[in-house]
Symmetry: D2
Subunit: 282 residues, 4 copies
């Protein structure tokens, strides 16, 4: 896999941003592999993602960044530049349910998820053997004392220098301090089509309401439970013959798929959260 730079930008919208950025890239011989924008009419904000072939550039990454800061200053940009070959360090958190974790581990093992899964943390040890078969460290954190448990989790995330934390059906509340620390890089899968059925037992609620589709929602974690910016959602058809257990089973497929898709978008640096919404640049 060839290296590429991903330049993510958000700033107040005005004339000349694309020109300035693309001129800057071209001036340094940068070959654009991909580029996409979004002008948000409501907020007057502009979002941009450029993917540049790394070895096409006539300058080093550091030099590129240093010089780009001048363009950024001119337009009051928030920006970042990441490298496609510099894999993010991902920690996955889980509880009992195996489907999302198994799915992510298999995608990673097959080479379809360009990330380093550095550890799995779980409040049960059900998934230890599976995790270890993949050669990944597994940490069981006892949550009997929530404060102590969360302290241990916080420390593990720090030690592993996690760039991104994925809650793969992790069934504990994340404390506010951790939500803030990993804001915009802690990803949860909720087992309903949000905003329907916020909170516990969504399949039970879906069953009781008699809906004809059930869904799953991948979102960034915020302090407000199940209220964070939505990255991806999908649904599957159910009918009156499906009991709650069938919904749980069918839901697993949607959860795995939606989480994997959301994680992929994040690790490819395609998601910009703005307020409680996301812009997906692909």
């Amino acid at each position: 896999m060839e290296n590429s730079y991903r330049l993510l930008i958000s700033c107040p919208d005005t004339v000349g941003i694309v020109a300035a950025v693309s001129q800057f890239i071209a001036n340094h011989e940068g070959w654009l592999l991909e580029a996409s924008y979004h002008s948000d009419i409501d907020s007057g904000h502009f979002f941009m993602r450029n993917e540049i072939k790394a070895d096409s550039l006539a300058v080093s990454k550091d030099e590129f960044c240093e010089k780009f800061q001048q363009v950024a200053d001119q337009f009051s940009m928030q920006w970042s530049l990441t490298e496609s070959t510099q894999r993010k360090r991902m920690v996955i958190m889980a509880s009992h349910a195996s489907h999302c974790l198994a799915d992510l581990l298999h995608r990673w093992h097959s080479g379809d998820l360009h990330v380093d899964i550095v550890a799995v943390i779980a409040n049960h040890n059900t998934l230890q053997s599976m995790t270890q078969w993949y050669g990944i460290n597994f940490h069981h954190v006892d949550m009997t004392d929530k404060a102590m448990g969360n302290q241990a989790i916080s420390q593990l995330l720090s030690e592993y220098e996690a760039d991104v934390v994925v809650l793969a059906r992790y069934m504990q509340i994340i404390p506010p301090a951790l939500c803030q620390q990993y804001s915009g890089r802690m990803i949860n899968i909720h087992h309903s089509f949000l905003p329907s059925f916020i909170g516990a037992n969504p399949y039970q609620k879906a069953y009781e309401r008699g809906v004809k589709l059930i869904g799953a929602t991948c979102h960034y974690v915020t302090e407000q439970l199940d209220e964070g910016p939505i990255i991806e959602q999908d649904v599957v058809r159910v009918n009156h013959r499906h009991g709650k257990e069938d919904m749980v089973r069918l839901g697993k497929d949607v959860e795995s798929r939606v989480l994997a898709h959301g994680v992929r978008l994040h690790i490819e640096d395609r998601v910009i959260a703005q307020g409680n919404k996301t812009v997906i640049l692909e």
Copy 2:
């Protein structure tokens, strides 16, 4: 189109119901075109729909019904028998928006909706000319005075002997008395994936929440707004580039499709409402 009898049954579940019913049908030479059941574990209720070739029966419809009452009594059945060629009398209610009405009228005109559309009632006259092109009576009811308006509607529905009332994006509240009178045969389309975004302006709310799918819900009308038994739902994908107007436009397609599907299920006598859920027998 050949005539068939649709025998709908619901009763407490026990051994021998299917045997008794199908034996009864066979004893009168009835040829089964379709049959479907559902045993609801939670409620202990049994649901059944048989579609019988009318001219295969050795007895008249009246005789069939009279004799069947004995089977029904034995199992404490609620039951009905309708004829496929006896078209239901449908009144459609609308406001300004034309998409659901145009869709239903076109399906009916093409021969794809086996129903008699006897009138369109609207609280605006925007849709009068379109309705009349199809040769259907159009009634404009002024809702400035809601009580008087609803009185006029109630009377029109009675005069037209409506078997089924379809609210094709009719934007007024139906009074409780009418909800009760047409219970289980008044069908609404709500422009969201219920239970998300109950009430007014669902697309605005969907836009603000940043969901990645928007939907529509076809349900029987009850006194609780948007809480009635759901017949059909579907969704369509949206993204950050879609403004509220785009959602409204994309939503129209889903609304029309979901309403048409729900109406079809109802007029084919495939829907049994039980509590706030539905059993769809196909």
Copy 3:
């Protein structure tokens, strides 16, 4: 609706195209509403669509085009500039089936399709009254003598100065000369998920094969029947209970939806055909 310019470009890929184009736009004060690109690795071709707020430009359209030609020459571009408020002149061709025509006419009438439907041409007169209710000219062309019929059609298209021709389930073969004349602007809906079931009676073939999904394909017309560049496709689920007539009925919805979507993409100047494929810039 405010006016915007849509600048469509395709050229051999190289460094600096985006920079040159966006710099040019910015130099004339152009405010970008949308922009999207595609680099096709296989062919080494680059595709770009810019949507620019017309009244943000400091120059007239003519001046803009004249000056842009220099940029175009530099990169050997094929390009075009259209105005969002200059509605394309659309002629719809049909036969007996009403669903696609009714759907397009209703969208247009509702203001959801920004186009001028200048005429409907059909080889039957079944759809005359419906067309005329919308205030649109209807021409019945007798196809008993195909050569004479096609001659009449060709002349009508010329007289109406058709920018785009939509075959809304028109069941006659288009002669090669017309295919060529309207290359890239004659759109057909085929009632199968191509390349499955090319040619006549696709639903019959789908029924016989026992597929579990049926579909529809919107494509540009070329001399090779059903082989043109695909703009849009979709499918709907079927099962063993669906006879051929059910498939025809279910297919109508997919056909209407897919054609409407494809037509929308075309009239918004979002489709570039390259060989027998399309790039959709949205």
Copy 4:
């Protein structure tokens, strides 16, 4: 999991079949958990599946079967009776690709697939370690000499007394003798939406044709490659930005999902093949 009997029937259609069967079941106190039928108009065939609570029956399974033979004889039925708790012995065959195998193994391990996976046979040993982690026997069969390889496979299938054979992206041709021996119980996943792109390299062909959806097809294996009765199909949306590798990656999800669904239908005895089509009784 409580035991239930699944009574599958197919016979020429006539009056009284349902009555005779359900009367027979009721006479022996059988409690129906599920029942579904299909009358095929074209072939004049009738299909039926009854699921009966085992412990509700007043007779043993053998007695039930013995007596039922009289009903069967009366209507010239082909029939079978299986027990839900008697798990089918499944052998999975694979090559290099892991996604379908990993998916099936995980579902089985999670208790969502009620089957005994007795062995995995592969013509490569890539998937050995993964298989063995699940405690399942793995056999690597060398296919350099196809005849010898197929002989070894045939023998393994016999030794394992396979009830069902699943080709989880097994990339070798199955010899006619094996196709016949396992007719109606050898299930393949083809990586295209059949009948599009029969044979090798379907994603390459899909890429070249520029389709907007790619799919997968689960079918029973017959001697005609990719022509067997279709059990299940599904699709996923692609666009011009997706290269062939992206299609392969996206296709994996659809393949896994479609195969798992098809396998579930088969092991729940819900599929009856008739000619090159299937009836799915759920």
